[in-house]
């Protein structure tokens, strides 16, 4: 499923269409509590993040307390209750990448974008996160942008890399 990255108010898809897609997900997973994490994954793919209203809706549909759903959402690092930028940069901070200087790459990216870790740039272009090992240790230091893995990244490459994503 293609990830919808923009906030729903700017997105061509209407609110009804987004909720329709969500209903299909809920039907597919039979509104079962044991499927909650899979449902949240799909919901995040539909809305781009997990807005509070949507979580309330899921809570009602699944007959679960909102607190329980919120507890699960905040437990896992891949769920976000904040809208994300058009491009998500994930800097791997696994041991291999750290030993190879991933922290310098991360600082360079944050400096260049003028944001802090976990934030989104004002123009909505980039969000920056840290990942705990993406399993590309042979390519350290590695970063992932929108799921594409870039290998052996150095501080000097950052500028060029960022320019490739509008």
């Amino acid at each position: 499923m293609k990830e919808v990255r923009e906030c729903c108010c700017h997105h061509p898809e209407t609110k009804e269409e987004l909720y329709e897609a969500l209903n299909q997900v809920l039907d597919k997973y039979e509104r079962k509590e044991s499927n909650l994490i899979q449902i949240l994954h799909m919901t995040q793919a539909i809305f781009g993040y997990l807005p509070e209203d949507v979580l309330k809706y899921i809570a009602e549909e699944m007959d679960l307390p909102l607190s329980k759903i919120f507890g699960v959402v905040t437990f896992y690092s891949l769920f976000s209750t904040q809208p994300k930028g058009r491009h998500t940069i994930q800097v791997c901070m696994g041991t291999a990448c750290y030993v190879k200087g991933a922290d310098k790459v991360l600082n360079e990216i944050l400096d260049k974008l003028g944001i802090k870790l976990g934030e989104t740039t004002k123009d909505g272009r980039f969000s920056v996160q840290v990942m705990r090992c993406i399993g590309a240790c042979g390519l350290a230091p590695a970063i992932s942008i929108d799921g594409d893995i870039l290998k052996h990244v150095t501080v000097n490459m950052v500028d060029d890399i960022l320019k490739r994503y509008e």
Binding site: S34, I37, G71, V72, Y76, A96, R132, A136, G138, K151
Partner: protein, 620 residues
Amino acid sequence: MSQTIAIKSYEDLLNVKERYINRHKQYEYTILVCSGASCISSNCLNVKNALEAELEKAGMRDKVLLKQTGCVGFCDVGPIVIVEPDGVFYCKLKPEDMEMLVQRHLVGKEIVEELCFLDNKSGERVPYVRDIDFFKEQLKIVFAKCGVIDYSDIDEYIATDGYKAIYKALTEMTPDEVIEEVGKAGLRGRGGGGFPTAFKWRAARQAQGDQKYVICNADEGDPGAFMDRSLLEGDPHAVIEGIMIAGYAVGADKCIVYVRAEYPLAVERLTAAIEKAREYGLLGENIFNTAFNYDIEIRIGAGAFVCGEETALINSVEGKRGEPRQKPPYPAEAGLFGKPTVINNVETFGNIAPIILKGSEWFAKVGTEKSNGTKVFALAGDISNTGIVEVPIGTPLRKVVENIGGGVPNKKAFKAAQIGGPSGGCIPSELFEIPLDYNNLTEIGAMMGSGGLIVLDENTCMVDIAKFFLEFTVDESCGKCTPCRVGTRRLYELLEKITEGKGTMEDIDKLEELCYHIKENSLCGLGQSAPNPVLSTLKFFRDEYVAHVDKKQCPAGICKSLLSYVILEDKCTGCTLCSRVCPVGCISGSVKQPHKINQDVCIKCGACFERCKFSAIVRK
């Protein structure tokens, strides 16, 4: 493509094999294109497309079989292509090299030397796989087919004796005999704890329950480990077969594979493999015309390291926060939805089919007396040949690092190997000869863990490494129990104090004492092992801690607060390069006069140090 058939007997397996062989008779050459995740990041698909176009151009499309395989293991030199039956290994390929490869190797029958692997030690090109040190010293059981067969072709898996082990188990062995065979093989869990696999299986078999589950733990969270990922991507049917045998042994009819969300390619390929197996009737009802029914479902994690712990993983599969449960009861008695559950790691499952097919005696011959079989290591860090390697358990660390891994690059010295991730410890250079087995590693305060092996060179600060791991555990601690939640944070703060040069000798003692408290009182494996990186570095590199505290020095020159850059007057030629690259403008001096760094302004970025052509800037 192949027509769908339901496989119900041994004959059917043989038929698939025969069909596969017949279909491939026409090919003079087979070209294996490594399509592991690392090579895909190195653009191997462009190489494959170029190769396809060149074959077309040369009119050789029907003489050459082009095959996408899983990870060959040698991630550092990707994209990789192996030309069979010659066994020639080409690496670091670009799409534009393919014309030369096709024309010279396939048409002209000569080896294209300049595309072969360059051995840094001898300075020579090594064309054949069998001669390359990286492959020569390995012994592959789990990864035997990974990097050899087409991961998406179930026929090829069957043609290479695939699904014969489950057939043998179902038709010739009772579940108890299967467990006994795995027990005699001496297989221990490959995911971390090293618990004997047969023990878990027996407990789950004996547990009462109308429904039992098998869970495959593919939540490979250890930073620095990527073997489970490679196996799932490169030989998914091997994992499926192992999971099926486990199901038969314990009496389960359902398996859940819990994969990290960070591994989308593994999910994609495993999903496709499961579908294929269903299509062939290898998953479903009455498998091989027996009473055995089985199916596999994939669950995707959502980014929590603690979910690698078995009870936390079970909670996560149930849709809850991934917090660990109190043990006992163990999962074998009351696991998923309260039912008896066996949880094993991906690599463990990868060992099962070979054990059943070739027998426990064969398996027990590999390895040491107390730890049988092989172990897969993920080599990374300051090492020439990064990648996945499989060696008999008990292989000395030196052999893995120097012979297979090609040693530490840039003429630097080996300082230590960190093994077992945030739960493990380090092996210093004094113990370079240590045989890598479960007991040896536990004895020195490290652990096999999942097999992530990070090599650290002389420029690594061990206090900083300990701090790195603690930062990780502080972040990943689920917060359920106090010793782990609060204790790891206090540990981190102490380490921060020391690396900033504000530590006292008393802090080092406090650090050690706190480590033992956390180990003894934490609820799950995460907390119980979180202090290991600190204890292990304290054990072998205490002098480095003392240097940070006593002399306010970081011997490796890593901890920023303790370091300053100084220009040596007698070496400085006054070329002004340093003052031009300094981002904060803190270097002053006239042309051809020695320069000076204003220490109050310097941010210690090291830009001047890296640029100076006269080695006139030193780190103190």
